[in-house]
């Protein structure tokens, strides 16, 4: 039956592993400095969410021997989508692993996981437990909860950036098999080579990307981005982060022409690149949607409209 939103409905979470005994430093940073809420705290895993998010988690951190990206989770509409994707992905030659509800993460329904051509693992799940909005469901004050004030306290997980050795192969896979749309892309000056792309499935505020694809090593994380209301908030957040001696990227607060966001990039104590962003593209998940095209010689303007230089550190993966 049509007239239903189907397939991937939303970006659910990103899960990373950090070499951090009992996650003491990680929790100190993500709860105390970034201003996320802890949903579930286990000996070797913590589930976090933003205060404006109703679902159980949007960030999961595991204690692991090596720092790394574990998986990115997307929610699909229902069991039928899980079955459809399983069939299609297997037909495309991928190894698809099925997990029962509650595995590997608490609160997830039945899910499948697989490796995309770029080397990262994606998990598609059809259900996630809800905790509810931090401000409640009854005539709420949509105001940052008191315990999170004087932190960035982002509103939502916005997008996840990854690096892949062959961007075209990864982007083709994501658009053809998972239904993603491209909102912007960077190509070589002769137009023949795809270097980077921003992909979306959602019509949202601060829109245009749930996955950002950059050229680089396989299987690695480039950044995790969170939604903020506007640029002024981000300027103030930069003050809180600097006050806490957080490592802020040399671009500082800037307009990122690529993606049309106002952004601030910074690093957690383990070197994970994080971003606060506002603005974004107005998109439409429709086959006729046309992406913005950047050519490689405009890369400086694309990455920072204000700085107009190439920041080599920014081009590297972080985990």
């Amino acid at each position: 039956m049509g007239l239903k939103h189907r397939g991937i409905i939303r970006l659910g979470y990103v899960r990373i592993g950090l070499n951090d005994r009992a996650l003491v430093r990680a929790r100190g940073f993500y709860r105390g400095i970034l201003g996320m809420l802890e949903s579930i705290v286990e000996a070797e895993r913590t589930y976090f969410r933003c205060w404006h998010e109703a679902y159980q988690h949007s960030l999961v951190i595991d204690e692991t021997a090596d720092n790394g990206l574990i998986e990115i989770g997307f929610q699909v509409r229902d069991q039928a989508d899980i079955s459809d994707f399983t069939k299609k992905l297997r037909a495309a030659g991928l190894k698809v692993k099925t997990s029962p509800a509650g595995k590997p993460l608490k609160g997830l329904g039945r899910s499948i996981s697989f490796e995309i051509p770029g080397g990262q693992t994606l998990r598609l799940f059809e259900h996630m437990e809800q905790i509810g909005y931090a401000t409640g469901f009854d005539s709420p004050d949509w105001v940052v909860p008191k315990e999170l004030r004087a932190t960035p306290a982002p509103l939502f997980l916005n997008h996840v950036g990854i690096t892949v050795p062959n961007p075209k192969q990864t982007v083709d896979f994501l658009t053809q098999h998972l239904g993603f749309y491209v909102s912007e892309k960077i190509v070589s000056d002769n137009g023949r080579q795809l270097l980077s792309a921003l992909l979306f499935r959602m019509t949202k505020d601060v829109g245009g990307q749930e996955l950002a694809i950059y050229p680089g090593e396989a299987g690695r994380l480039h950044q995790i981005a969170f939604t903020k209301e506007d640029a002024n908030d981000i300027l103030i957040d930069g003050q809180y982060l600097r006050n806490d001696r957080i490592d802020i990227d040399q671009y500082g607060p800037t307009r990122q022409s690529y993606g049309k966001t106002f952004s601030l990039h910074f690093y957690d104590p383990f070197g994970v690149r994080l971003e606060l962003c506002s603005g974004g593209r107005i998109t439409d998940p429709h086959p006729d949607f046309e992406p913005v095209v950047w050519t490689e010689s405009n890369l400086k303007k694309a990455l920072s409209y204000y700085d107009r230089d190439l920041n080599p550190r920014f081009l590297e993966p972080c985990l």
Binding site: I9, A54, N232, I282
Partner: protein, 307 residues
Amino acid sequence: MAISRFSYASLNVQDIDASVRHYTEVVGLRLVDRTKTTAYFQGADNQDHHCVIINQRKNAGLDHVGFKVNDRGDLDEAAKAARDHGLAVKEVKAGQIKGQGRGVRITLPSKHDMVLFYEAEKIGYLTGMENPDPVPRQEKLGGKVTHLDHTLLSCEDREPTVRFLTEVLDFSLTEKVVDPTGGIIAAFMSCGHTMHDLALGPGPDGSFHHMAFGMESRGEVIEGVDILKETDTPALEYGITRHGVAGVTTIYFHDPSGNRNEFFNGAYLAPGMPNEIDPIVWQLEEFPRGGFYYESNVPQSFFETVT
């Protein structure tokens, strides 16, 4: 598949020349095309042909709202589903509405017409599709509107339309205002992940309450209020304010025929599976804080004045 976005509002105005000045020089939209009796506008950041159509008519108000679907087959399916639901449906031929393909026109239980269509002519973003500047040139007049975001329509009984939109067209109910018996006074519904694309409030059937234009920052909303004052555009007396519902920074004002417009900024998402997250419920006695957060008072004119 499904409705992919709230695309445009087609409004009736009494003086088309004054209205063209309003929507370009005050609101800050691009004038895409115009004839003697009709004009088409688009925001800086939408790539389709129009987000507002104005038609020269005797009375102000809504002609119809336009929503885009992302599968051609959705049009026939929606027409059938609407007829099965007991609603009147009319065919809209390709080109009958400039800049868009074939559509189906459904009269909602609230007596508002909704046109669903699949194809839109592309005009691109204001700053272009190749290596674009992230902000428009400074000579652009009017508010720094990026896009048309949502509309609020008024009707006698909200529930039948809420049922049709959520059960048949896969909208999500994200927030509602209820009376002491639980009856819906206002309903906020989304066909994507923003807090609302279409809202319903109390008033005569078929009437138009407002349409809202998004901006990227609260600073731009402040600038927008300054433009309204500078141009003597009739606006809500509160100046800049915040909605408790949706938690966005906002100002309401009127076009020369009285159709209400809104500038707002905010990043409120309700990203979930359609109708999976329970709606926020506002009790009527709390609604003044929901309407206007700083003032906690809803002026009587707010619901009474519709076109």
